[in-house]
Amino acid sequence: MDLDMSINAPHSMGTTIIGVTYNGGVVLGADSRTSTGMYVANRASDKITQLTDNVYVCRSGSAADSQIVSDYVRYFLHQHTIQLGQPATVKVAANLIRLISYNNKNMLETGLIVGGWDKYEGGKIYGIPLGGTLIEQPFAIGGSGSSYLYGFFDQEWKEGMTKDEAEKLVVKAVSLAIARDGASGGVVRTVIINSEGVTRNFYPGDKLPLWHEELEPQNSLLDILNAPEPMNT
């Protein structure tokens, strides 16, 4: 047991992050737990960050490193968009992330999934794990919780899903990972990107399905402490 896991440990995002393409766009999903050692520093963090109007990135690994990388890439993409005169493509965004991750691989510890929609290629997902590899995939999973999802995706993934099927798949997968991974938890956030625009959804923890051996949330007995006094005749 690592007794050095105090609240002064670097802020890391245990995490489960997912990116999935469907017929017409992409769905990005993530949990919301940020931990410092064994303490949950933020139980409602937003790990899906905007890079441009049509490209978002899911962050995992060191919170500081992933925030700085996405800030730099947002800045470069903004300049690139001005110079190009039209919205940046997902490929360019992913490559900028890859350049920063690869060229600073000794100093950074961050795994990212870039997803978005552009008019040339449609919906695309790019995974950029530790080390700075760039790999274009129909679906990508990352973070500590992803270990529990490889088998699940091998079985459940299908080409050409509809938007609702894809979102349900992502929410189911994140909730399965939350059930098994201690470093993932909180709420499930999803972002759907297609030709029409961007939709953000939020699934609070108590609305997620329960899995094997998970218990229903119980009302705490402390609630009766605040109950009003019973009436006296």
Binding site: I7, N8, P10, H11, T34, T36, Y39, A41, N42, A44, S45, S62, A63, A64, Q67, I68, M107
Partner: protein, 273 residues
């Protein structure tokens, strides 16, 4: 005859001359004093009209309380304050530095400072030093875009939250917030909740203690309530009191008012956006 050596100009940086001596002393048991840390409980919450920041007032050097009434709520801008936990020197220096940068920025732009500006300046500085600047901060303020509350960790990551706690007493304070916080608190309720959270830290954490400091920031107005609650006052004070028998004699008092050389004209219309 010794050969004369060329006189080199003194180089900057750390002088390692006394390191061997310090090592020898440490072996003999004479350890140097440890860094002054603010063990700390610092909190912030967003209420109906703005932001309330709270902090305890104990500073420790190892296991000794070196300051029973220090100020942990630092001024950043007229509408932005920052609570600091961690190494006291680091929190003081970094908040002071960003305070100056914000003031210069205000002169450049002619506008009120925004909380995200302070946030970005702090996070870039802390990330650059890769966590070696041990400052964990709770930054809060109200600007043209509304009330904001952020936490900043020593490695440079930030979170934006409706209520936040940091420091060694953060778990005790967070327990209070998690059970009693709700959206749209009034100023009274917010102040009471912050006091409760800080008191939880003061009484349950060894690194926090003494008094409660508060800062209430609303649109266009701020209240810095130093020592709002004093749950640990000095109970046993000698009735004899202090007297200093030998006083310094004042021989002559002369006051020379300085002439105003510069006429300050109040700036014209301040731009909103």
């Amino acid at each position: 005859m010794s050969t004369s050596s060329v006189e080199l100009p003194p180089k900057g940086g750390f002088s390692f001359d006394l390191c061997k001596r310090n090592e020898m002393l440490a072996k003999k048991g004479a350890n140097p004093p440890s860094f002054r840390k603010t063990g700390t409980t610092i909190v912030g919450l967003i209420f109906q009209d703005g932001v309330i920041l709270g902090a305890d007032t104990r500073a420790t050097a190892g296991s000794i309380v070196c300051d029973k009434n220090c100020e942990k709520i630092h001024y950043m801008a007229p509408n932005i304050y920052c609570c600091g936990a961690g190494t006291a020197a680091d929190t003081e220096a970094v908040t002071d530095m960003v305070n100056s940068q914000l003031q210069l920025h205000r002169y450049h732009t002619g506008r009120e400072s925004r909380v995200v500006t302070a946030l970005t300046l702090l996070k870039s500085h802390l990330f650059k030093y890769q966590g070696h600047v041990q400052a964990a901060l709770v930054l809060g303020g109200v600007d043209v875009t509304g009330p904001h509350l952020h936490t900043i960790y020593p490695h440079g990551s930030t979170d934006t939250l409706p209520f936040a706690t940091m420091g060694s007493g953060s778990l005790a304070a967070m327990a209070v917030f998690e059970s009693k916080y709700r959206e749209g608190l009034s100023k009274e309720e917010g102040i009471n909740l912050v006091c409760e959270a800080i008191c939880a830290g003061i009484f349950n954490d060894l690194g926090s203690g003494s008094n409660v400091d508060l800062c209430v920031i609303t649109k266009g107005h701020k209240e810095y309530l130093r020592n709002y609650q004093v749950p640990n006052h000095r109970a046993h004070i000698s009735s004899k009191g202090f007297t200093f028998p030998k006083k310094t004699e004042v021989l002559l008092t002369k006051i020379t008012p300085l002439d105003e050389k510069v006429e300050v004209i109040e700036a014209g219309d301040a731009m909103e956006e």
